[in-house]
């Protein structure tokens, strides 16, 4: 989808990006995080083909953005940190203009405008001048402009900046819908809890260097389409009644390994922690074995790391700080 290779970008007195390399998977939502001055906005501008790097290359579906920015722009929607709108135009005119400027045929302009407005829940705003809209509504119009040509990649720099909590939640829901529609998203923000609501991957930058790029499959509330995949999961079982000898039950490491061959199991009296590759069916089968074996399961679920903790870990190399996922399965037994 998007491939960044050895990207370097310099400002006159300091390097903004140093040898940044990563690749985004189709349909992923990547949280781009890092302290101020890390190079997030510069990286986004390079990906959007708005800034020419010193060296390195950015490819979008095989097209080198650095060589053919005009060609690559057809598949990219970009919302800058401080986005602009034509205040004197109506929201409808803004979307019409954006659609026409991005190559939507004239015959489809009305239909496309209406569809995007409905998708963003701003149909009622269409006849109003943009300057009369609220911050959240303006944000949606700006996003509408970015997605009106159905880009394959949507790059958003601090999209929730200045929004109230309700608007942020609404924006998160919107991003999940866009992801469900097959759009790949790269989103930067300082508000990690907001990114946590929809991100599937995390890209950490510091001082222009990429610290880490990884999947957030074990991060709380990572996006729904990855839930049923077979992947590394960290499962935690909490028992109501302490169990003295785990090995005597169907929960022994040997039996668990029949479900998940490469598993790591740690136990104490009331807790069982299993790190293994599971799919949903395997996870269900494990719970069933526990219950059938007589364990009084108080809670059973995937242990997920918060994005903030994951970020801290990436930046400082600190040990994991874990929090229990809200999607625990509780058993009455």
């Amino acid at each position: 989808m998007l491939e960044v290779r050895s990207l370097c970008f310099d400002y006159p007195n300091h390097p903004a990006l140093v040898d940044v390399t990563f690749a985004l998977a189709v349909g992923s939502v990547t949280a781009l995080v890092g302290p101020n001055g890390a190079g997030k906005s510069t990286l986004m501008r390079c990906i959007a083909g708005l800034a020419e790097p010193l060296s390195g290359a950015v490819y979008l579906n095989g097209v080198a953005i650095t060589d053919n920015p005009r060609l690559a722009h057809r598949d990219i929607g970009f919302l800058e940190d401080e986005f602009g709108l034509y205040d004197e135009l109506t929201a409808s005119q803004c979307l019409h203009y954006a659609a026409a400027a991005r190559g939507v045929p004239d015959a489809n302009l009305d239909a496309r405008t209406d569809a995007v407005a409905a998708q963003l829940d701003i149909t009622h705003c269409l006849p109003k001048r943009v300057r009369e809209l609220s911050r959240g509504q303006r944000q949606r119009v700006a996003i509408g402009q970015a997605i009106i040509s159905a880009p394959k990649l949507l790059v958003l720099d601090e999209p929730a900046s200045g929004l109230d909590p309700e608007a942020r939640a609404s924006l998160a829901a919107l991003f999940r819908r866009l992801q469900a529609d097959g759009i790949t998203l790269l989103v930067s923000s300082h508000i990690l809890t907001e990114l946590e609501a929809y991100s599937t991957h995390m890209l950490v930058l510091r001082a222009g260097r990429m610290i880490e790029y990884r999947s957030l499959s074990n991060v709380a509330a990572s996006a729904a389409p990855l839930q049923s995949e077979r992947r590394e999961r960290s499962l935690e079982v909490v028992l109501q009644v302490p169990w003295r000898d785990w090995a005597t039950l169907p929960l022994s490491g040997v039996q668990i390994r029949t479900l998940a061959p490469e598993s790591t199991v740690t136990t104490d009296a009331t807790h069982l922690q299993i790190e293994a590759e599971f799919d949903d069916a395997g996870q269900t089968a494990l719970l069933q074995q526990l219950v059938n074996g007589g364990a009084h399961v108080l809670s059973f679920g995937e242990t997920r790391q918060t994005l903030a903790a994951s970020y801290e870990q990436s930046i400082a190399g600190a040990p994991k700080t874990e929090a229990t996922d809200a999607t625990e399965i509780r058993s009455a037994q």
């Binding site: 708005l50 060296s55 005009r70 602009g84 034509y86």
Partner: protein, 463 residues
Amino acid sequence: MSMQPNPEFRRQLWLQISATRLILAPVVIAIVVALLASTGPTTNAIHGTAWVALSLTVLFWGTSVVGTSIRDEITGRTWNQQRMSRLSPWQLTSGKLFGATSYVWYVALLCALVAIVSGRDASSGLDPHNPAIEYVFLLALGLFAHSVALMAPLAFQSGNGEPRVSVPSIVVFALVFVLFQAAPLGASRSGGEDVGTEWFGISTTPQLLAMWTALCLAAWGILGAWRAMRQALQVQQLPWALPAFLAFMGVWAAGYASASDTSLVTRVLIGATLALAAASWVLMLWEPQSLFAWRRIRAHWASGEQARAVAGTSAATGVVLCAVVGALLVAVMNAMSSGAEVAGVQPTGFFMKTTMSSKLSLTSHAGAFLWLALVLIRDFAFTLLADTFTTSPRRRSAVILLYLLFMYLAVPTALQVVSSAGGEWWFPASSVVVPIILALVTLLAMVGALTSRMPRSIIAPKS
């Protein structure tokens, strides 16, 4: 195949044209005409007022509107959306050039109608033989001014490649004012004599020559705006347009040269070289060529992308190169002609007469053009050196301006104080030997400083 309307032009119409504005303009004009008519029986006053209003509308209001159209996109943070759109460079150029000024042209049309109707009965002012020339001249000059206003912020980018918002409109206005004043219209309107002129030996009227000149400038301006837009939209292109324009200006100026013993080629070459040299200093001063750009060029070159490296060089580089080559050619040609006078440019044209008080004589020295080539290289080397120790385009421009003032004002003044003929040691006049030696010495010093500093500086800093 259906024609898709230009979205940028349509957006500009949404912003510029409304029923209220369409009605307002003729109402205001009608009121002014009625007031003028009621104060006295003078069609001349109405015609004169309409003409002035037309000129101000086209040249100043229109120029201001076009200049603002880019500035507003940048300050309104919508410029990058346009850069990422699928609008072609021509769609954006024409949309802004003609769409942003749509209301201006509407008002101008109304003013022109009043001027034409009242001008039929006016007793003075217009060229009685062909009044249309004035209107065509004004239209062309307006288009040229609008194009320059659009091109300027795009062509002169800031250090990070963004268009420079701060290119002052006053510069464009000054350019328009000079051209307007230099044109024959002011003289003919104030009862000036109907002078004749020659251009490349062709006898014509200054009015007609001014009209064709303005039309050519308008075409060059639109071409320049389009190419600046292509650059802003990251369409790779080779930097041929500015040298070509300056060569055109050289040809244009050479048309006024009256020396009969000089070949046309020599005259054109001299005119083009001088135009290129003048543009070189302007670009050296104004165009930011940051280390960032040099590092990128170096990186492209190192990775075997020579075409991208060449395309990434500044306009100043190309223009200085052309000027140096031109100066050396003139020097060689002059040397081969055994020191005969290269050209004696007599300001016979109207423009020349109004701007030059006496004969402009290009002295007959091959050495003078050799000196010109040397100082151009030296000054360009200094601009590169300035890139290595300045961090902002503004500071860079200030440093280069100080350098130019030092080299071309302070040093000759100081030499003049030392000796009454000291200035001639610096600028070639009666003798060229000393100025050439001094130019060579300063050039070598500059290149020495540059070669010791540049290789380190264009390597990306390590974090």
